[in-house]
C-alpha cells in the first residue's frame, strides 16, 4: 500500500504544480495517472506546440513546460503510479482516504486533490466486431513497453503522429512491421512522414494505403488480420494489432465518487479553496467548475496553491498558516537539497 499526505489524481500541469505548493508546506505527494507519461494534455495532445500565455514565458513548448515543472517539483520527491486509472475512492475516517486503481494498487492519503483535466484519456476503437475479445491478447491501443514487440510481427493502423512515430520506432526491433491507413496521405510532422517513406523504400515498413483492417482472426490470441485494399481482401499473419486512432477524454470513475458534478466537471468552492462537497477532497485545473471558470493552465496553478494552503490548515488545525516568499525563506527539498537566494553582505568598499 502507498501512503502519503496528499494523493493527486492527474499528472497534468495542475497536478504537478500541486506537488510544489504542497512541498513548500512540508506535505508529501503521490500522483496517479492513467497515461504512461506525465504532463496530461500537454504531453498527450500537443507536446511540440508553443504556448504563449504562461506568465513570464513569452513562448514555451508544451513539452518543455512539463519538463520544467518536473524539474521544479523533483526535490519534493513525489511518488508516481502511472499507467493506472483511479477507480474507487472511499473515505476511511476523518482525514484518511483510500484510492484504488484498475490494477488494484491501493493508496491512502490524508487529503485528495483531483487534477483529472478533461478526464482520463481512452483510446478511440475501430469498429471491428471481435476486437474486444482480442484486447490485451494481441490488440493493444497504447505502446507501453516497446521491448514486448521485439522479433514479433506487428500491424499498426492510423494516420497521425503516434502511428507514424511508433511505426518508425518499432520497425527497428520487430520481425515485420505493417502500417495501414485509410488514406494515402498522413497527418504528422514532416520529418516523420519522410522517415516512413525511407523505411518503406528500405523494406523495413510494409506500407498499405488506402486500406483498412476489417477482421481479426485467432483462437486464444490474435493470429492474423484481414485487410481491405483497393477492393480486395487479404490476410496478414501477425502477433499484434495496434490501432492508433487517437484518444478521447472521459470523466469516467470520478463521476461515481459522490462529488457534485455539473456539466462533466466537479463543482468546487472558488470563493475560498477549491474544495468539493466532500471535506478533504479538492479539485483543481480543467476538471473543476465554478462561475466564470476558465480552462487555462495559469488558473490551474493558482487553484493548486489555494487548495494546498487549505489542506495544510485542515491537517494542522493548531498551527497558523504563514505565507512565505520562496525568495526570502528559500526551499528545502525532501531530498536534502536547499535552494536559497544569495545572502546580502554588509561590507565597506575601500
Amino acid at each position: 500500500m502507498i501512503e502519503t499526505d496528499i494523493l493527486i489524481i492527474g499528472a497534468g500541469p495542475a497536478g504537478l504544480f500541486t506537488v510544489f505548493e504542497a512541498g513548500l508546506l512540508k506535505m508529501r505527494c503521490h500522483i496517479i495517472d492513467a497515461l504512461p507519461q506525465i504532463g496530461g494534455q500537454l504531453s498527450e495532445l500537443y507536446p511540440k506546440k508553443p504556448i504563449f500565455d504562461i506568465p513570464g514565458f513569452p513562448s514555451v513548448l508544451a513539452g518543455g513546460l512539463i519538463d520544467n515543472l518536473y524539474e521544479q517539483i523533483k526535490q519534493f520527491k513525489p511518488g508516481f503510479t502511472l499507467n493506472e486509472y483511479a477507480i474507487n475512492l472511499t473515505k476511511i475516517e476523518e482525514n484518511l482516504f483510500e484510492v484504488t486503481t484498475n490494477k488494484g494498487t491501493v493508496h491512502r492519503a490524508k487529503a485528495i486533490v483531483i487534477a483529472g483535466g478533461l478526464g482520463s484519456f481512452e483510446p478511440k476503437k475501430p469498429l471491428i466486431d471481435e476486437i474486444s475479445s482480442f484486447e490485451e491478447k494481441g490488440v493493444n491501443y497504447f505502446v507501453k513497453n516497446p521491448e514486448d514487440y521485439t522479433g514479433k510481427n506487428v500491424v499498426i493502423a492510423g494516420g497521425g503522429d503516434s502511428a507514424l512515430d511508433w511505426a518508425i520506432h518499432l520497425s527497428e526491433i520487430t520481425s515485420s512491421l505493417t502500417l495501414i491507413h485509410r488514406r494515402n496521405e498522413f497527418r504528422g510532422a514532416l520529418d516523420s512522414v519522410e522517415k516512413v517513406r525511407l523505411l518503406k523504400q528500405k523494406g523495413k515498413i510494409n506500407l498499405i494505403t488506402p486500406a483498412e483492417v476489417t477482421q481479426l482472426h485467432g483462437n486464444e490470441t490474435l493470429e492474423a488480420v484481414s485487410v481491405e485494399h483497393e477492393g480486395e481482401t487479404k490476410t496478414i499473419k501477425t502477433d499484434y494489432f495496434i490501432p492508433l486512432f487517437g484518444l478521447v477524454p472521459r470523466l469516467g470513475p470520478i463521476a461515481n465518487w459522490g462529488l457534485e458534478i455539473e456539466r462533466n466537471a466537479v463543482k468546487v468552492d472558488n470563493s475560498t479553496d477549491y474544495s468539493t462537497n466532500i471535506p478533504g477532497i479538492y479539485a483543481v485545473g480543467d476538471i473543476n467548475t465554478y462561475p466564470h471558470k476558465m480552462k487555462l493552465i495559469l488558473c490551474g496553478f493558482h487553484e493548486a496553491a489555494m487548495a494546498c494552503q487549505s489542506i495544510y490548515q485542515r491537517l494542522n488545525p493548531n498551527k497558523k498558516f504563514v505565507l512565505k516568499y520562496t525568495t526570502v525563506s528559500g526551499i528545502d527539498g525532501f531530498d536534502g537539497t536547499r535552494k536559497e537566494a544569495e545572502k546580502q553582505v554588509v561590507a565597506s568598499i575601500d
Binding site: L45, Y46, L118, L127, G160, F186, R187, G246, V248
Partner: protein, 107 residues
C-alpha cells in the same frame, strides 16, 4: 442585425438550438457551439487534431470555406464521416452563412 447571423444546431437528442452569432469577432462554428454550451467537446481547442467537433451540414449554404488538408485528413479517419461532414473548428463564421443548419455528430 449587422454582422450577426443565425445558425440552427440539432443536438444528439434531436433538439434544435438557435444560435445568434457575431461574424466580426473571428469566431468559428465550434466557438459558438461551445459558447452556447451545446454538447460539442472540441477537446483540442480547434487545432484539427481531435475531431470531437465533427458535425453534418444539413442545408446548402454558400460561403462555407472548402476543407483544408488537415480537416480532410482527420475526417477520413473518423468512422461516422459522410459527404456532408465538417469539423466545426475549421469553419470561421461569415455573413454569407446566415441560416446555416447543422447537426452535431455522435462519435
Amino acid at each position: 442585425m449587422k454582422n450577426e447571423i443565425i445558425i440552427t444546431v440539432k443536438d444528439l437528442k434531436g433538439k434544435h438550438h438557435i444560435l445568434h452569432c457575431p461574424t466580426d469577432m473571428g469566431f468559428t462554428l465550434k466557438d459558438m457551439c461551445v459558447a452556447y454550451e451545446l454538447p460539442m467537446e472540441a477537446v483540442c481547442g480547434g487545432m484539427a487534431m481531435c475531431a470531437t467537433c465533427h458535425c453534418y451540414i444539413l442545408n446548402d449554404i454558400i460561403g462555407i470555406p472548402q476543407k483544408n488538408d488537415a480537416e480532410t485528413a482527420l475526417l477520413s479517419e473518423v468512422m461516422t464521416t459522410t459527404a456532408n461532414s465538417r469539423l466545426a473548428c475549421q469553419i470561421p463564421l461569415t455573413n454569407e452563412m446566415n441560416g446555416l443548419y447543422i447537426e452535431i455528430a455522435s462519435e
